[in-house]
Symmetry: C2
Subunit: 497 residues, 2 copies
């Protein structure tokens, strides 16, 4: 038998596309005496990519649509190595715009095959704004994926350097680690040296959508003092990042000046970095958050590149004591307003959520988001269900993540064991990813996702039959399962017993 | 400041008892400029105990009651080093019996102080059978603890050797590891050499109640073939274990002959070891499970020593596919009958639960147990919320454990990363314990336990103030939190910043 598991591709019927899966061939025979096979969702992209850029599989799909054009890259400041594209005048080349017009794209067929659903379901969920396909026209290397509560729960991995440690190669290694363990998207939160070069290295090597928080780079551009920020500086950064290919951007536009006093009774104040930056600016100038005031213009830019907006929750609770408070929900209501503005501009949008929430208050977060934000996909950080386990917050938060996913959160932002203590290294990225793949999958099972249950069933059958190699190959981390087993019973014979 | 954290004792007001707490002194001052202190529940027993036996703190309490007497230990076969006691003729020296008669014992005041509640609440919950204090009269070394849904959620750690590896010292090390990380009870599941000696070493060194599954030792006594089991052999083992001091015993009496055909449609059959042993015996003899047929006599024995019966769920599901099936709930209904028989004999009783259950089917397990088993404390293994992560089942199951605890499960049986792959070593015991302390605490917070929330609040305040040493000292694993922090910012100054 060939090395396990191997990659296989399913061809599109509408478009010339091939969708990757990871095939596990089992030591179990079907009624025709063929080995049973299970094809698993796969995020790893092309095999052995190295660090010098991967194939831009969407380039042709994008240019074929004839609603964008390449511009002279010498005149741009993307830090990028590919000539950027922008929308033709009057066009909004977004997957949401296409869906509303009833246009099925190769991206839509790609995700339909990945999710195992009819493309009509994709079209419907996209057109209602209940799902998004975050894909910048300048990130043609990315394989399409869909985020929405009717689909498989997705996991985002945060990576990025800091002023304390910065090395571009390390970040590409973290990217590869994240996608190896199943990251559906990756956010580059770099704040240290070479932000633009680091991001370009990540984008050119990433088969998954890349997110950023552009206010971080803007802050670096103005010298690190939030008071010196301006919408002009933000816009410059946002356009540069969009031309480089960032697929989605967290924008903390919902934190209004009037919300800030609501945080006074809090135990842990404002813990979101973006929220804290914007609150500092707004208080210093005693002016409305410029991301809120200029939100329509932000949407114009986003629509030009099909950048998805991820509405940041600058007032998310930073402790169990602050969960579900007035500040948090006041901001959420504003995020609901902003969702409408995005949609009016054909911009894809999702909404970010907490944070730190005890188990009994988790469901309310989803209910309120659905209601206030008109079913826009919810994208939550954890939540952590207790504050007492620094060093293990991948576990405190996997509990909350699994539960909030079971209630309908569409994407989970992972938390690594280093949360609150330091920046994650590659090992931490792996630990965070595994904990969150567990949470996402537990959510899928809870929602009755048939495709998800097949894998549990196959592994349980293998367990009952003592087919150890099948158990290892079907597991989230075959190496670890094999190593633990072999500590006690290393003989190969013991694996088939 | 003295080394953190230190142990303090609270004296009883009704009895001459002292209840241990672990005191954390914070770098935060109260209104009188004194350092804020937080006293945490502590399971570690006396300091630096070594391996040669700890102080039998309850010996006087037990003998003072004058309802038991020591017997000539040469005539017994306990493997023990202390002369065993038995009830005087006609007496049932159980905490449940005392509570029903309105008698407050030192054990009850001890747990009232530990839990921070009035002893009247303890008396009420015990007398209604909604809580138990598992304490054999022959385990005077154990510090009293209470298991019931109105109290802090407890965690049990399984240890024990196997025929593959057996070393008494290793098991005592695992016991110490388990209680260091907060195990409320420990089950010794040894099946290898020296079962009785291993158990005695554990009992004489354990400040927490010890549980066993006596059918395991019985099986070893009859040569390993379930078909050769008999009630006589079981009874002999049970009495020996009771004389040795085992505080609670899992008894798989609910798996009736008529339930076995219900497992035919299952993916993973009968996965409980005790369940599988009893099903094999019942099928081979085509007779009713002898633990069911002789349950009243089992209760008589238990009442003589105040052994708590933990009703084993021999038909618990072994996979997501088998969760909440007919076999499982048929057995649960029988467990409800057996609860009544225990209570009629003044025997303390709890009920064991699954296993493997998807998130959306967890609540039903608690609801059915409460209803069918008349609110007897529920004691669940996990449940695992997915089958696809061998090597990480401490996480797949901590998710289910936190959720089932939030619904009212009184004690959680931990799962270590080695589940399904091998026996846990001391490192695995620690990983399992931390994951389950998180789950139990998340459950406490969800139920609105005020004492639990104080710790989160203190840690969150320390986080907001950048009081790093306070964060470390308040956390479940101070060493790890400190090590992760120091990887990036090792300077002591950085901890007070």
């Amino acid at each position: 038998m060939s090395e396990q598991p191997s990659k296989v591709y399913v061809n599109g019927s509408l478009f010339d596309i091939k969708v990757p899966f990871r095939r596990v061939v089992l030591d179990e025979l079907d009624e025709n005496s063929n080995n049973v096979k299970l094809d698993l969702y796969d995020t790893t992209g092309e095999d052995s990519p190295g660090n010098s850029g991967i194939t831009p599989l969407r380039q042709r799909w994008i240019s074929n649509r004839d609603d964008t054009h390449a511009i002279d890259s010498d005149k741009t400041n993307t830090g990028g190595s590919v000539p950027p594209r922008v929308a033709n005048k009057g066009k909004r080349p977004t997957q949401y715009g296409y869906a509303k017009s009833g246009i099925i794209t190769p991206e839509m067929e790609f995700v339909a095959i990945r999710e195992g659903v009819d493309v009509g379901i994709i079209l419907e969920e996209l057109s209602k704004g209940r799902a998004i396909i975050p894909l910048n026209i300048n990130h043609p290397e990315a394989e399409p994926m869909i985020i929405g509560s009717r689909f498989l729960v997705k996991v985002n991995a945060n990576i990025g350097n800091s002023s304390v440690s910065a090395n571009i190669g390390d970040e590409v290694t973290k990217l590869h680690t994240a996608i190896q363990w199943g990251a559906d998207t990756v956010m580059d939160l770099s704040t240290g040296a070479d932000i633009a070069l680091t991001r370009d290295a990540i984008l050119r090597n990433s088969p998954v959508p890349i997110g950023t928080v552009p206010i971080y780079e803007t802050l670096a551009r103005v010298g690190g003092n939030p008071v010196n920020l301006s919408f002009e500086a933000f816009k410059e950064t946002m356009i540069a990042q969009a031309m480089g290919g960032v697929d989605y951007m967290t924008i903390h536009a919902g934190l209004r000046l009037s919300h800030i006093p609501l945080t006074i009774p809090r135990v842990t104040g404002i813990v979101s970095r973006g929220g804290s930056i914007m609150a500092t600016w707004a208080l210093a100038h005693h002016e409305e958050n410029f991301l809120y005031s200029n939100f329509a213009e932000i949407c114009e830019i986003a629509s030009t590149f099909d950048v998805t907006i991820s509405l940041g929750d600058g007032l998310r609770p930073g402790s169990i004591a602050d969960a579900n408070d007035q500040a948090q929900f006041a901001e959420l209501a504003t995020l609901g307003e902003l969702v409408k503005i995005c949609r009016a501009h054909d911009v894809q949008v999702m909404v970010e959520g907490p944070g730190h929430v005890p188990i009994n208050r988790i469901a309310e977060n989803v209910q309120k988001e659905v209601e206030l934000c008109d079913e826009a996909p919810f994208y939550t950080l954890g939540p952590l269900t207790t504050d007492i386990a620094p060093g293990y917050d991948h576990i405190t938060s996997a509990i909350g993540a699994a539960l909030i996913a079971s209630h309908g959160t569409a994407m989970l932002c992972y938390v690594t064991p280093k949360e609150h203590l330091g920046l994650p290294n590659a090992d931490d990225v792996k630990e965070g990813m595994i904990a969150y793949k567990i949470a996402a999958h537990a959510g899928d099972l809870s929602k009755g996702h048939l495709g998800a249950a097949q894998r549990d069933l196959a592994l349980s059958r293998a367990r009952f039959d003592f087919r150890w190699e099948d158990q290892f190959n079907l597991s989230l981390d075959p190496q670890k399962a094999r190593a633990f087993h072999d500590e006690e019973l290393p003989a190969p014979a013991a694996k088939k017993a």
